[in-house]
């Protein structure tokens, strides 16, 4: 007894048996006969007459359809069959056929007609438009454009980049791609594609075209939800691009100042990245200070000193009693005449006094880290020294000498430990479009993770903090571009070159960090270990990395 395939049944549920039989025959007999595409890539806009060398009908290719000339007859037959079938059924059934159907990826198939008949995907991109991401969520009949899970920007971008790089690798081995047709998803994908195209244009210097693309993207943005997901991230990037192209005077968002500190604080509260950074560094510092009576911490960017109360408390509680603690905090000059460094120092001193810890503080005012002179830091020989850098070292990368300078005097101090936390991203590549694409990936993941955090107003202001980073990466160049993030592997190389050796953060730290994360953060964050360093990421994409270092042994060491 002939029975049609399950999917065909789903397509045309109310067909009488005779027509089911007809469809089944078609299904059996008219399997697609197209083979894998050869690598003679064709541009959809080619208007070459007649047949191209690779046997594809050149004229149809110009219209976006890739078929071999030799196959045209058979394609025509199949179209006729399908038409007969569809025509004999009432039009409301054919409408069901579409709304309840598994849609295939049209940039891979030559004819969706075939998919309707046979469920197999023949070929090849017909146009350069970015295809939709694959979601493994087949429709059930009856729901037209049923919603997918909220559009994951990172997934969208991953698929988009795959498509654009795989354009000329036409896979017939590509598995069945099942797709939801969601207008917003489609706009989101277009947006990502447009963003990357725009970055390429900016890189090539095609600025007026990039500008019109920015306008087009702004239009696309009106069609999607910019409150979350891909819309939000894309919105920031479109803004940044717009500013890069149109602002005559680039306002350099260098991330310094009172406002920056506020936003930093909210970023700290909203999501676990900074808390993780502080915790991990503090654990390493605590270990390094073991057995010392005099300890000195140099914080290369004090901000609001959020990192230090837990360390002071931990030192207060250690067996044998607390050491004498000195903290040196580096920070920019205050804009409103206050001495904010001193204020924070006083707060920390208050805390220390309340738990009976001998404490002193000094503030070093410097607009840039490279302006700090070693003698200002008043490092003495009998103290254990920890130098702590949370997301600061990358700011020195705009000039080759700045980083060398700073690492040089750190090394000369021979600290017991140098703790470094940096964004785990590659935003300092020489090509603009490379940086841009990386940033798009990175910040999409970051925003994804922020969505999991609910604390308001922290979340909104945290986003502002992140948005400034994006702006800096996209809009600024030269010394104004301070957000020159580099991944752990590059930092390893730089630090080893500068005469440091890595310290293993230790499995205890790893366990504790993981535990704290589970207790205090949303699902989805993960702590990983990376050759003695620790990273915190979102769904196994590391976003921030913590490492510890010591100066390479030269003669006597203080350890």
């Amino acid at each position: 007894m002939l029975r049609p395939s399950r999917s065909l049944t789903r397509y045309l549920p109310s067909f009488p048996l005779a027509q089911h039989l007809l469809l089944h025959c078609l299904y059996r007999k008219l399997l697609p006969i197209m083979g894998p595409y050869d690598s003679g890539a064709m541009t959809a806009s080619s208007s070459s007459p007649g047949t191209s060398p690779s046997n594809f009908d050149g004229l149809l290719a110009g219209a976006g359809y890739i078929w071999r000339s030799s196959d045209l007859q058979k394609v025509a037959q199949r179209l006729e069959c399908l038409e007969n079938v569809v025509v004999t059924s009432p039009s409301d059934v054919s409408h069901l056929a579409v709304d309840g159907v598994i849609h295939h990826n049209p940039s891979v198939e030559a004819s969706w007609v075939d998919s309707l008949l046979s469920e197999l995907i023949p070929l090849v991109p017909g146009s350069e438009s970015c295809s939709a991401a694959a979601f493994s969520d087949p429709h059930s009949a009856g729901g037209s454009s049923s919603p997918c899970s909220s559009l994951n920007p990172a997934a969208v971008i991953a698929t988009c980049t795959d498509q654009s790089t795989n354009q000329h690798q036409h896979q017939s081995q590509q598995p069945l791609t099942v797709v939801c047709t969601d207008a917003e998803e489609d706009s989101g994908i277009r947006l990502v594609h447009a963003l990357m195209t725009c970055a390429g244009l900016v890189q090539r210097g095609d600025l007026s075209l990039a500008g019109s693309l920015v306008e087009e993207m702004k239009a696309l943005l009106t069609r999607i939800n910019t409150g979350r997901g891909i819309g939000k991230v894309a919105g920031h990037f479109v803004d940044a691009l717009g500013r890069r192209l149109y602002q005559r005077v680039r306002v350099s968002v260098t991330g310094v100042g009172f406002e920056h500190e506020i936003l930093y604080h909210h970023f700290y509260e909203a999501c676990p990245y900074l808390k993780f950074a502080h915790f991990t560094a503090n654990q390493a510092i605590l270990e390094a200070f073991h057995g010392h009576d005099c300890v000195h911490v140099i914080d290369l960017s004090l901000m609001q000193g959020l990192q230090w109360p837990p360390l002071i408390q931990a030192l207060a509680l250690r067996p044998g009693g607390p050491p004498l603690i000195k903290i040196t905090g580096v920070g920019p000059p205050s804009q409103d005449g206050r001495d904010s460094l001193k204020e924070i120092g006083l707060k920390l001193a208050d805390l220390a006094r309340s738990i009976n810890v001998r404490f002193s503080f000094q503030g070093i005012v410097a607009f840039r880290l490279e302006d700090v002179k070693p003698w200002m830091l008043q490092v003495s020989r009998n103290e254990a020294l920890a130098v702590n850098s949370i997301m600061q070292l990358h700011r020195l990368l705009w000039s080759g000498s700045s980083l060398d300078l700073v690492l040089g005097w750190i090394r000369n101090f021979n600290p017991n430990i140098l703790t470094i936390v940096e964004q785990e991203a590659n935003h300092n590549q020489s090509q603009f479009s490379d940086r841009f694409t990386e940033a798009l990936h990175y910040y999409s993941t970051l925003f994804d993770s922020l969505e999991a955090c609910h604390l308001q107003p922290h979340k909104a202001l945290a986003e502002m903090f992140v948005q400034r980073e994006i702006s800096n990466i996209v809009c600024c160049e030269g010394s104004a571009r301070v957000e020159r993030h580099e991944p752990l592997r590059k930092w390893r190389a730089r630090l080893v070159d500068a005469g440091f050796r890595p310290l293993n953060l230790g499995s205890d730290v790893f366990k504790q960090a993981s535990m704290l994360l589970t207790l205090f953060s949303a699902e989805g964050f993960s702590v990983e270990e990376d050759e003695g360093c620790l990273t915190l990421g979102w769904h196994s994409r590391p976003l921030i990395a913590a490492s510890a270092w010591q100066a390479e042994l030269q003669g006597n060491s203080q350890v």
């Binding site: 219209a63 025509a76 579409v98 849609h103 090539r204 095609d206 007026s208 239009a219």
Partner: protein, 346 residues
């Protein structure tokens, strides 16, 4: 019904080259499934299935293109220009210098077809067609991405067309000739032809923009009554009365019938074009288009109102014959258009 449909398909295949037949049938099939009987349209799927192409600033076959978004009207237009002779200039989009200071370079404002519902300026079929226009007619083309029905009904498409026309007219980089003006022709196929007519009327009434000529490529017109050609050709050459009705219902304001002046130009509610400074027209009619009687009535009506119309009546041509340049009709069409837009050249 199945039987007679088979005859239809066979007959059609004899007349039309195979690849054209496949192209148009493919479109037809897709469109059938996108139109819902309740008058709504599966826009998501339509966009998904549509073959679109990006513009290219590096010329291909002597033509390059770029998209321009006009903030004030929210319109996206795709501009096509002949490639600069100097290769050093390739990839640069000049939005300042005119097309030429010596000769007149016609600018064709093109409204793509799709029965007011389908396609866009960046659809592969229309992008390719516009490129051919540039090359064969030595013109610059601006393809307008007007808003489509059923989401945007009458008069949105005309409003967008008019906005685009005014925009084109004020672009210094589209000027040419010693008089440094933008030399504009309106063109469109199917619904695009309908839009071209209405925009030309608006231009003539406003007196603000001069349109040098209209090119209507089997324009989409209709009316309440069923004409001979509709009855005779229903379903025979890719198009049915039923689908025409659906598109009109999706475009015209709710509750209006096909004698609405947008559809039936010289019908009971039609506007009087006498005395209006209406441009000369080139109307191309495919004899196997089921609305050909309405198109012939249009030609009559325009002539009676005292305006010049050149009629190109193509025997044994079906709709969409110009998508692929594989037939004589295509060549004739391009020749006519070329002469039409270059006849004013100094």
């Amino acid at each position: 019904m199945a039987g007679s449909n088979e005859i239809n398909l066979n007959e059609c295949k004899k007349i039309v080259p195979l690849n054209t037949w496949i192209l148009i049938s493919n479109l037809k099939l897709a469109y059938n499934l996108l139109r819902r009987p309740d008058g709504t349209f599966n826009r998501d799927l339509a966009e998904f299935l549509e073959r679109k192409v990006p513009p290219n600033t590096i010329p291909v076959d002597g033509v390059f293109s770029f998209d321009v978004f006009d903030k004030s009207t929210n319109l996206l237009n795709r501009v096509y220009k002949p490639a600069p002779i100097n290769e050093d200039q390739w990839g640069i989009i000049d939005l300042e210098k005119p097309l030429s200071t010596e000769v007149v370079v016609p600018v064709i404002v093109f409204f793509h077809g799709g029965s007011f519902t389908h396609s866009s300026a960046n659809s592969a079929i229309y992008d390719t067609f516009c490129r051919r226009l540039v090359r064969l007619c030595k013109a610059s083309v601006v393809s307008v991405n007007y808003r489509r029905s059923p989401e945007h009904r009458y008069p949105c498409a005309y409003d967008d067309g008019w906005a685009a026309l005014k925009w084109v007219n004020t672009r210094p980089w589209l000027r040419s000739g010693k008089d440094s003006k933008v030399h504009i022709y309106l063109a469109g196929d199917s619904s695009g032809g309908n839009i071209a007519h209405h925009v030309a009327v608006r231009a003539a009434e406003s007196g603000v923009v001069e349109v040098l000529g209209n090119i209507l490529l089997h324009p989409m017109f209709g009316g309440k009554k069923r004409t001979e050609s509709e009855k005779k050709l229903d379903g025979k050459y890719f198009v049915t009365i039923q689908d025409r009705d659906w598109y009109w219902k999706a475009y015209l304001p709710e509750g209006e019938d096909r004698d609405h002046p947008a559809c039936n130009i010289f019908g009971p509610h039609g506007k009087n074009l006498e005395g209006l400074k209406f441009p000369k027209s080139l109307v191309v009619i495919a004899s196997l288009d089921l609305v050909r009687d309405w198109q012939l009535a249009y030609v009559d009506g325009v002539r009676k109102a005292g305006h010049e119309v050149k009629l190109l009546y193509l025997k044994e041509a079906t709709i969409g014959f110009y998508f692929l340049p594989n037939n004589d009709h295509f060549c004739m069409l391009m020749e006519e258009i070329k002469n039409f837009v270059n006849s004013n050249c100094q």
